[in-house]
Every structure is written in structure tokens, then in C-alpha cells.
């Protein structure tokens, strides 16, 4: 982490994302605790892994939220923000690894894939934490110098997308008889597809930072729209709220007949 100024000044563009973070981290924690409780009660390891994954995602969003809160309070992207970004990314990566473990516990362990993703996470972890990412540093300060930001984002995106694609392919190969369960898995697949778009937009935002020096571009807002879709779809797909279940059952059965 780079300590000391100059600092990027506060921009009102962070407010929508800040509000979204404030909504999303409690949702993530609620979902995580629900999954972990159910997993423990029923002795389902995969649910527990999924719970840890959402717990990590929740923690990542909470840390990002604290970083932005600090920016709003002090009016500059100070050290807390600079620390929050790589920390949030790193915890997010841990969450993604738990997603992989969830996949392994449900679909069987694959050593080669485990080694590949573990090594990749290690490399990405180093890339994300390098000072040359210039988190919260004005563009003019590091203009002309090498910026790692794009490569670390790209590596994170590829890691996450690799794991999501593995899960999507595994879920798609399932032959489920129960129509509602099948629909539940469809929702999970769509939530993962949303996450792929989320990471694509985060990477585009990084490209924008590299070109203009300004973060929190429109791509970041679009990314978090996909992020929101992910949370809604995965919440419905994984917990199936009791009020929604009979309605969906009726709809699906109606469509089949």
C-alpha cells in the first residue's frame, strides 16, 4: 500500500456504489448465514462451502464499503481506501475459491483444476497487492509509469470467469427430473452469467482508469447492476422464498402442460 499523498479527491460518483454496497453486504451475510445454518443442520458440506463463499463476498463488500465511507468522511481517497481495495479483492478471491470447493463437493474433486486455480489465485493475489496498482493515487502522479491495475483486474476476471464457467458447465450437464429444482439451477446459472458480466465491466472500468485516470466510470455502475442481479438470482435460486415457491411451481407446471 502506498502511504502518504497526494490523494485522489472525493468524487460524488462513488455515492450510488456506496449505497449499493450498504444494501448488499447485509444481504450477503444473511444469505451466508442461512446457507451455513442449513448446511450444518442437514450435514451438507456443499452448502457450508457456499455459505463461506457468500460470507467472503459479504466481507469483501463490507471492506469496500468501509473504504468508501472513509472517502466520504475525509474527502479524499486515503490509506484506508487504498488498503480496502486490494483487501476486498483478495477476500473476494477467497470467496471464489470457496465457490470452487462448493463445485468440487457437489460434482467431485478434480486435482488438476484445483492446482490450476490455486496457483492462479496465488499469482493474482500478488498482482492485486502490488503498489503499482496505484489505488487512490491521482493519475497525474503515476502518469508515464507502469500501472498494474489492468493486468490485476484481468487476472482476477479470468480466475473468476474460469471458476464460474466450470460451475456452469457442471450444472448444465445435470439431468434433473424435478422441474422446480431444474428452474432453481437455471437461476444459479444465470446468476453466474451475471457475475461474468460483472467482472467484464470491472475490467472495462480499469481500462477506463488507465486511459482517463478517472475511476468509478459508467462501467462500474453497470458492473454493479450485474452484481445486484447476481445476488437476487442466487438468493432466489438457493433459498427459494416460501412465498415464491407455490407461484413458481404453478407457473412452471402450467408452462409444461
Amino acid at each position: 500500500m502506498i502511504v502518504g499523498g497526494p490523494y485522489d479527491p472525493y468524487t460524488p460518483r462513488i455515492i450510488p456504489v456506496f449505497i449499493l454496497y450498504a444494501i448488499l453486504f447485509p444481504v450477503a451475510f444473511i444469505l451466508a448465514f442461512k446457507l451455513m445454518r442449513k448446511g450444518r443442520q442437514q450435514g451438507i458440506k456443499s452448502a457450508q462451502y457456499l455459505g463461506y463463499s457468500f460470507l467472503s463476498f459479504g466481507a469483501a463488500i463490507l471492506i469496500a464499503f468501509i473504504g468508501l465511507l472513509n472517502v466520504i468522511i475525509v474527502g479524499e481517497f486515503r490509506e484506508i481506501y487504498r488498503l480496502s481495495v486490494p483487501l476486498s479483492y483478495s477476500i473476494g478471491m477467497v470467496g471464489t475459491l470457496f465457490l470452487l470447493l462448493f463445485g468440487f463437493s457437489l460434482f467431485g474433486f478434480q486435482k488438476k483444476m484445483a492446482v490450476l486455480f490455486a496457483v492462479w489465485t496465488g499469482i493474482t493475489f500478488v498482482l492485486v497487492n502490488l503498489d503499482s496498482n496505484w489505488y487512490g493515487v491521482p493519475h497525474s502522479t503515476y502518469a508515464g509509469q507502469f500501472s498494474m491495475r489492468f493486468y490485476s483486474s484481468l487476472s482476477m476476471m479470468l480466475l473468476a470467469v474460469g471458476i464460474y464457467l466450470y460451475l456452469i458447465s457442471k450444472i448444465n450437464s445435470l439431468q434433473i427430473d424435478k422441474p422446480l429444482v431444474k428452474f432453481g439451477y437455471k437461476l444459479i446459472v444465470w446468476s453466474l452469467i451475471s457475475l461474468i458480466f460483472f467482472w467484464a465491466c470491472v475490467t472495462l472500468d480499469t481500462v477506463y482508469i488507465n486511459i482517463t485516470g478517472e475511476g468509478f466510470s459508467i462501467f462500474f455502475d453497470i458492473a454493479w447492476i450485474f452484481g445486484l442481479i447476481f445476488w437476487v438470482l442466487s438468493y432466489i435460486g438457493l433459498t427459494m422464498p416460501p412465498k415464491l415457491k407455490p407461484y413458481l411451481e404453478k407457473r412452471i407446471l402450467h408452462n409444461r402442460t
Partner: protein
Amino acid sequence: MDPPQKLKLKDFSALFFGSLIVVLLNFTYYFLIHYIVADYPADFWTILTNFSLILLIVIIQVQTIKKKRITEALTAANQEKSNFLANMSHELRTPLNSIIGFTELLIDGDPLENPEERTELLHIINDSGQLLLQLINDILSITKIESGNTRIEKREFNIRDVIDQCKHLFQKSLVRQSFIIEDQLAVDSELINADQRLILQVLINLIGNAIKFTPEGKNIGVILSSNSEELLITVWDEGIGIDPADFDRLFRPFSQLENPFTKAHQGTGLGLYICKNIVELHGGRIWVESDKARGTRFSFTIPYATPIAQLNKAAEEFLDTMWNA
């Protein structure tokens, strides 16, 4: 196929020399920076270049080891094929020699002289022909299995029916021994989803062996049992038993153990190898337990559901449980 040999130090030569080159390049680079271009910052590109070089070396090393492994595997496969061909030719020649030899005797001899000896010779020719046919059938089975062309035609059937079928098939051979069926199957666990023809083939092989190697007056039998995931079938006998040192050889092709019974009952030495392959094709396991004093027990399992079906079921149960818990 023999397991691949352990990697030796010399296999990592590319990694050693590659790393040495990187270290030398680094020294040269830093020497140039510090003494010629003073105060030049060691930037990210240095790290990236080193990283890329090391990555390249690792890739080359992995490829070298992979190539070595492939060569080893190909050599071993080739050796195995040669052994198989040598064994096969030998096994084919034995019954063929007796067919040719005894038919020549019959051709040269007087048809009216010694009719009993003629009948005996004809029996030997017939036995040799049968053995030859069995050998060719076994080789065809193996070739099909090994080339991955064996089609498992799965359908649900009752395992008790197959056991009864076996008992009926061996009725004639079972005059000398008693055949005991011990049924420990739980309710509703007699139905399995497998290829009935292939499972019958396994049972015929195992029961046939049990009959062959069990002296008169002793018993042989089948035990049917199960757990929630798989059906367990055990074929046991009170025969001559097998030395535990020979267990590994048993499931290899053309492996016949030396004992007075193998000499008396000719076999192809392929039966257990075929059984192993059939059971494994169904996702099951086969093993042997034996005691020279008590006899032998061959056991194999057949999973009630295929791994894919199990996976589908597990995935279905996962969401269902999550929603209803």
C-alpha cells in the same frame, strides 16, 4: 501397464540450466544498471521478464517430462502388446497342435481298428476345438473392452434371476459339489441397473473357476448382499485356495497359477481379466480373499446407480434440502 518410473534428477535438467541462465541474466542486468546506467530503477518489467522466463522454462520442463512419460507409456504399451501377442500365439498353438496332431493320427489310422481309441481322440479334438473357440471369444472380448468398443446395454433386472440362471447352467458340472446360495439382500435391493449379459459372463467365469478348483464333496456358493449404494456378490469355494502372493497376478491376462487343477482343467487365463474389466466398466470393484486351508472368495460390487445418476440425484437433493430445511 507398468506404473511410470519415478522422476530422476536428470529429468529436471531444463529447469536447472534454464534457472541458471535466468540468474546469470539477472546478474548481468543488475551489473549494467548499477555500474553503467547509475540509479536506474528496477522496474516492474524486470520482474515480469524474469517471471516470463521462469514460466517459459517451467513450461519447457513440463513438456519434456510429459514427452518422457508418453514415450515410457508407449514403450510399455508396445511391450505389453508384444507379450500379449506372444502369449496369444502360444495359447492358440497348443489346442491347434493337438487338433492337427490327432486328426493326422485319425487320417493315417485304420478306421475299423480300435474304435474306442478313435472316440477318445475325437473327444480330445472336440475339447481342443472348444478351448480354441473359448480363447478366441475371450480375446475378442478383451479387444472390445480395451478398445473401448464394449457397449454396456444397461437395463434393470433381478440379480436373483441371473444367479438361478447360473445354477441352471452349471447343473451338470455341479454333481460333484454342493452349490449354496446365501441371500442376504435387503428388501427392494435385488434390482440392479447393469448389462445382464455381461454380469452373467462374470458370474459364469467365477462360478466356473470355483467348480474347477474345488475337489469332490466340497461346497461352493454365492452370497448376495448389499448396502445403500452397491450390490455385493461373493462367489466362494472350499477349494485349493490361492497363495496371497499370487493375488496381483490373478487379474492379469494369460496368468494361470501353477497347480494340479490348472493342468487338469485347461483355461485361457483371460477369464478373471475380463471379469475385472466388465466389473470396472460398471463402476464396480473386484477382489479376492483366499486361504489355502479354507478356499477362495471372489467378491465384486455393482453400484445401484451410475456415477452420473448419483451426481444428478445428489444435485437434486442438495437444492431440495436447501429449500425445505
